[in-house]
């Protein structure tokens, strides 16, 4: 074998073949530069997100000009009447800003949860509601609406029910024997999910068709139209905490994506990584569904697109998913407000945008399979 003798190289790594070492130094530097291109793309996305937020603040039934926005911080900017300024302030703080923040948080959270789930379950067709979180939360919300509870109570019930569904999935998957643990978990999740879907169907059948049924139906389609500042306080801690933990675990997630057996042989405490990933992704999904209803496709599609753009390495994939998820949901919400006079449910818009993209992805992966 040519090149430095591996024997010496292993024994004294720093003395391995002088001639080759300089070449390796160069490539290692190139490797770091590559990390920088990843960071550059992340910076570009961050800027795009900031721009999207500003533009989105102006969208809506009452469009705001840039001057309107600026005079909030610089009162002397324009000579508009004090009453107008008060309207703008109220509109922005009470309606526009909570809505935009919720879109950012939910889009980012669902996407990063979806990307983590796809890595963990080694399947790029997995979405964050795979363990029943969405159906559980939807059932809780439908029940809350049936019982004529207040909005905060409905959301809390949805959140609790979403977590409950996932706990049920865990519990049931432990009692079942045989098969691989992850596979059992996914199968049980599907079972629990359809159980709660059946529950929703029962509630819809029993609901008053004039008052309750439309509410339930509309809620199931997902919307950000009724997001308030209290919702933000409910959304913020789970999404920020969950996403932070998932982002911290992105390198071990790479190893997990090779399969748990291999991850373990590489020195990853697989149980811990799996546990934290599942808990965080579930928290994010449940709270997102509790606040905004069922918004499909984001957690499935955004990680997919991000993977095409930046590659499979979760070190870059997770931040890119997070940022592009936030941008995607912001614009989907803008479209929902802007497309028709009547506001479209957000779930409809994400689905309409998601299906063509997803078909494209399926076509591409089919080509990969046939190779």
């Amino acid at each position: 074998m040519a090149g430095p003798a591996p024997a010496e190289a292993i024994a004294r790594p720093d003395m391995a073949g002088e001639t080759r070492k300089s070449a390796l130094d160069l490539t290692a530097t190139a490797r770091l530069a590559q990390g920088k291109t990843g960071r550059l793309r992340i910076a570009v996305l961050t800027l795009a997100l900031a721009g999207s937020v500003v533009v989105s603040l102006r969208f809506g039934a009452h469009p705001l000009s840039l001057a309107d926005l600026l005079q909030l911080w610089f009162p002397s900017w324009s000579a508009t009447a004090e009453t107008h300024r008060a309207t703008v302030v109220a509109l922005l703080w009470e309606i526009r800003l909570p809505r935009v923040c919720a879109a950012v948080l939910i889009g980012a959270g669902l996407s990063v949860a979806g990307a983590s789930y796809q890595g963990l379950f080694r399947n790029s067709l997995v979405s964050p509601d795979i363990l029943g979180a969405s159906s559980g939360a939807a059932f809780g919300a439908a029940l809350g609406i049936m019982l004529s509870l207040g909005i905060v109570a409905v959301q809390s019930l949805a959140f609790a029910s979403g977590l409950g569904a996932v706990f049920l999935t865990f519990g049931l998957s432990r009692t079942m024997g045989g098969g691989h643990y992850t596979l059992r978990l996914v199968l049980t999740g599907m079972v629990v999910g359809s159980l709660f879907m059946a529950g929703i169907a029962v509630l819809k059948t029993l609901a008053d068709p004039y008052s309750k049924l439309p509410l339930i139906t509309f809620w199931l389609l997902g919307s950000l139209s009724s997001v308030t500042r209290t919702d933000l306080w409910m959304l913020l801690p789970p999404v920020v905490l969950g996403s932070t933990v998932l982002l911290l675990l992105r390198w071990p997630l790479n190893a997990m994506a090779l399969g748990e057996e291999e991850a373990r042989s590489l020195g990853i405490p697989t149980g811990q990584v799996r546990g934290w990933t599942l808990v965080c992704a579930t928290l994010i999904t449940s709270v997102a569904v509790a606040v905004a209803g069922v918004i499909g496709w984001v957690g499935l599609m955004v990680p997919h697109l991000a993977r095409f753009w930046i590659g499979a390495n979760h070190r870059d994939l997770l931040p890119v998913s997070l940022l592009s998820g936030a941008i995607f949901l912001l614009w989907a919400d803008n479209l929902a407000r802007w497309l028709f006079v009547v506001e479209l449910p957000l779930g409809v818009v994400t689905c309409a945008c998601g299906v063509p993209v997803f078909l494209l992805v399926l076509r591409r992966s089919q080509r990969a399979w046939s190779n």
């Binding site: 074998m1 040519a2 090149g3 430095p4 003798a5 591996p6 024997a7 010496e8 190289a9 292993i10 024994a11 790594p13 391995a16 080759r20 390796l24 130094d25 490539t27 290692a28 490797r31 770091l32 890595g119 080694r122 399947n123 790029s124 911290l248 675990l249 992105r250 390198w251 071990p252 790479n254 190893a255 994506a257 090779l258 399969g259 057996e261 291999e262 373990r264 042989s265 590489l266 020195g267 990853i268 405490p269 697989t270 811990q272 990584v273 993977r307 590659g311 499979a312 390495n313 070190r315 990969a368």
Partner: protein, 260 residues
């Protein structure tokens, strides 16, 4: 350093596929594991890699029980090369090799410049440095096998456990792989390799363990263990074992199957 397996039973369920295993590997030794398909070679290697837990008996690193060590520390002592597999995600070769160093940083951190350099070097040892930026999903099975060996080298462990690393390699790469492994043993690394090639064991193993019907039947130097009758019993086909002489007129033992 010494990795000793004491009275170990291992298997995928509660039923052991291999039991009563007693085997010690010294650092710097090259041990081959031979046996027919389904004889439990992989189960033994997976138990050593910490993927399966021992059903009974134990594994010890010097005087420390293997199961008392955290996963992370085990990975620093023993690297495992699985059988070649098709991954789900299209990781870059260099990223995959860098994953071999995962046990060296805290759970929330990632590779540093030192780690990238070690990964590059590991690729160079198996002469695969040109593949660093290729996608692991888009290279051939043999190339994947070499990359997995590079990942284990990047792990810089004292013991190397390989599951049929030569299975999808062409003839030249098989020989190159054996040479790489032999150089590693000379550097003080203990190698345990499961193989379906008795000639590999004859050529470079310091000891060979023959597994058949749930037990290790024989352990010893390959020239003593791998006789015609032993090979015929293991593979249930007749073999010819003979000696040829190399340029220095030293005997080299070879084995070939006998056809009708």
């Amino acid at each position: 350093m010494r990795l000793s397996i004491e009275n170990l039973s291992c298997g995928y369920t509660r039923l052991p596929v291999l039991s009563g295993v007693n085997l010690a590997i010294e650092a710097g030794e090259f041990v081959c594991l031979l046996g027919p398909n389904g004889s439990g070679k992989t189960a033994l290697l997976k138990t050593l890699a910490g993927i399966l837990s021992p059903l009974s008996g134990q594994v010890k690193l010097d005087e420390t029980r293997w199961t008392d060590l955290p996963v992370r520390e085990r990975a620093a002592h023993l690297a495992y090369v699985p059988q070649a597999h098709a991954p789900v995600f299209a990781f870059k070769v260099i990223d995959l090799v860098a994953m071999g160093r995962t046990a060296r940083w805290p759970l929330w951190a990632g590779p540093t410049e030192v780690d990238w350099r070690a990964a590059e070097q590991a690729l160079a040892w198996v002469q695969m440095e040109a593949f660093a930026d290729r996608l692991f999903t888009e290279i051939s099975g043999g190339e994947r096998q070499m990359v997995l060996v590079a990942r284990a080298l990047a792990q810089e462990a004292r013991f190397l456990v390989l599951d049929e690393p030569a299975s999808s390699l062409d003839f030249g790469n098989q020989v190159r792989m054996l040479q790489t492994l032999r150089r590693l043993t000379r550097a003080g690394i203990g190698v345990l390799m499961a193989t379906h090639h008795p000639e590999h064991a004859l050529r470079c193993a310091s000891r060979v363990a023959v597994v058949r019907e749930g037990r290790i039947r024989q352990i010893g130097p390959p020239n003593e263990v791998l006789t015609e009758s032993c090979l015929a019993e293991v593979y249930r086909v007749p073999f010819l074992v003979s000696e040829i002489f190399d340029q220095q007129n030293l005997p080299v033992r070879v084995c070939v199957p006998q056809l009708d």
